[in-house]
Amino acid sequence: MITVESLKKEYLEEETPTLALQGVTFTIKKGEFVSIMGPSGSGKSTLLHILSFLDRPTSGSYKFQGKSMDDMSDEELAHVRNKDMGFVFQSFNLLSRLSVYDNVEIPLLYANGIPPGKRKALVEEAVISVGLEDKLYIEAGKLSGGQKQRVAIARALVADPNVIFADEPTGNLDSKSGLQVMEILESLHDKGRTIILVTHETQTAEFANRIIKIKDGMVESDELIASNRKRRNGDLK
């Protein structure tokens, strides 16, 4: 599903080139739940941005669902982001003045060819799956942090993507809400979706069945772990 090879990313910071990624290589198969871990400045966010088509690498190759990113125009990338990828951000990125419904509907607005009637059903289904059906017409800004992140997950789900990218999804949440959010991601994985999670918290990372550790722009370790569902004891932190 995802194949990266010698991925490099160079930034110009005040005229000084900084190498955020120094040649990263790995493959992620369909249906995996992968945590990308690393200290801040390790390049894990840069990696996630490239994996999620928000940024292009300086060199190296990236194939998503068999298609090379180099061969795709910005418009095609936008189309793939819309159709095949879902996003969950640390800071939620909801439009606070819009209702939950309107927030969740946004990806569908950019997916051409979904009739409005079907759109409504999809939005409702996504909101029900995160357990916020009673808040459907509440302004997003009035929700709690945990609820906001669940709305963001519903938004990531609504277009039925193959991969969900989550960038520190529990970073702004208390442990109880964080656990709820991780359990939702876990259940999405159970339903066959590929989840790629960036975090620096070990406990959060351990929801995955594979952990890729990044340090100084390189893969430090890449190992499969046993599903920690049994080891976990309710409390995340």
């Binding site: 940024d55 910005d74 936008a78 819309n82 990125n93 439009l95 819009l98 946004i106 990806p107």
Partner: protein, 416 residues
């Protein structure tokens, strides 16, 4: 993105910042309404002026002395204070022989104080023949017009306008057969004109005094020539034919063989209409151009506020792009917002403009009735108003919208 969704998104973000949207629109409202008002005033003035000229009749030809300058906009020499004495009695005789001409009335005019008892008023008087009443279609409220024999024998009789009659005699005295003094010469009032308002040559008919031309020439002015001749073409002939016959007759009468040496100017109503029409059109255009300055200022206001909105909504742009919006989708969204702003502003501006035009019409017709102001609200101004406001939205919205579309999603999402 469907256009319908784009509109929904745009209206939503406009209604979220209601006060800002309204203030931004205000610039366009003022711009469009001033264009509308000034265009309508220009149109009204044009209708008024052209209406006056039309009222003198389409088969009317005016002969003024002086050499044609070739420049239609140049005033005749007589208007520049140059006295030309070439139009004489024999010209009238020559014109009366011409079958394509129905009638010719020589005219002289001047200003004089008119006195009755203790009342007086300085007005312009016109000396002419009985033909004038026929040619100008002057109707009388009471009494009669003076006759050919009055003119021939130089009788001291006068026909006066209704406003002057009221000034001199008040409401309750019948002016007929009373004696008024014009330049200290006594005249017996034989008729009072029906019409009020402005007649040919811009003379206020309400304050007019018409006396036999023989008396005016000999006793008031001391001249033997005419200031101009009003000619009525015979309706059985084409006006242009009558005009050429008139030219021929006058050349013969003046002994002119070289057409370049004409010492008279012949203008039909159509000639005057086209000159005045182009003058007033230029005036209207000029007024609209001044008004459009405020429109440009309003448009810059739109651009400014849209740029602010783009910066404020950087994160929103980032999010929309992350979930699949293309540069074009974002551009479309912001462009629709600015066009919607200007279009609604334009619609309100047209309505406000119409209100002001109506108010001006009401005030002018109520308090200045004699002006004869006409209501004109040109459809072209409405169409122009909508078109201009829409275009303003596009022109002033495109730059901010492009800025929005070009934003990099990662930078946009990180924006604080």
């Amino acid at each position: 993105m469907l256009l319908r969704d784009a509109f929904k998104t745009a209206t939503r973000s406009l209604t979220h910042g209601k006060m800002r949207s309204i203030l931004t629109m205000l610039g366009i409202v003022i711009g469009i309404s001033s264009v509308i008002v000034l265009m309508s005033i220009g149109q009204s003035a044009q209708d008024l002026i052209l209406g006056e000229v039309e009222s003198i009749g389409s088969n009317l030809i005016i002969v003024t002395p002086g050499a044609p300058s070739g420049d239609a906009f140049a005033p005749p020499p007589s208007a520049q204070g140059i006295v030309i004495t070439t139009l004489l009695e024999r010209d009238i005789k020559a014109l009366e022989r011409e079958p394509s001409i129905k009638g010719a009335a020589p005219m002289v005019s001047g200003q004089a104080e008119v006195v009755y008892g203790n009342n007086n008023k300085t007005v312009s008087y016109q000396g002419s023949t009985a033909e004038l009443f026929v040619i100008q279609n002057l109707e009388l409220k009471s009494g009669f017009a003076f006759t050919k024999s009055d003119v021939n024998s130089g009788n001291h009789v006068a026909v006066i306008g209704p406003d002057l009659a009221e000034t001199l005699f008040g409401k309750y005295v019948n002016p007929l057969n009373k004696t008024i003094r014009v330049k200290n010469i006594s005249f017996r009032v034989v008729g009072v004109l029906e019409a009020s308002g402005t007649g040919a040559f811009g003379v206020n008919q309400g304050d007019m005094v018409i006396i036999p031309i023989t008396v005016a020439q000999k006793e008031l002015l001391g001249i033997i020539y005419f200031n101009n001749i009003l000619v009525q073409a015979n309706p059985e002939y084409e006006i242009d034919f009558a005009k050429s016959r008139l030219t021929f007759a006058l050349r013969q009468s003046h002994g002119i063989t070289d057409p370049k040496k004409d010492d008279f100017i012949i203008q039909t109503q159509a000639d005057i209409l086209s000159i005045l029409g182009s003058i007033t059109s230029i005036l209207t255009l000029f007024l609209a151009a001044i008004a459009s300055i405020s429109l440009i200022v309003g448009g810059i206001g739109i651009m400014n506020i849209m740029l602010v909105a783009v910066t404020e909504r950087t994160r929103e742009i980032g999010l929309r792009k992350a979930v699949g919006a293309t540069d074009g989708d974002i551009l479309k969204q912001f462009l629709i917002e600015s066009v919607l702003l200007t279009f609604i502003g334009g619609a309100i501006g047209i309505a406000v403009g119409a209100g002001i035009v109506g108010l001006i019409y009401f005030v002018l017709t109520t308090f200045f009735a004699s002006l004869g102001w006409v209501f004109a609200f040109p459809i072209s101004a409405v169409v122009l108003g909508f078109a201009v406001s829409g275009i303003a939205g596009l022109v002033f919205g495109i730059y901010p919208a492009r800025q929005a579309g070009k934003k990099n999603p990662i930078d946009a999402l990180r924006y604080e």
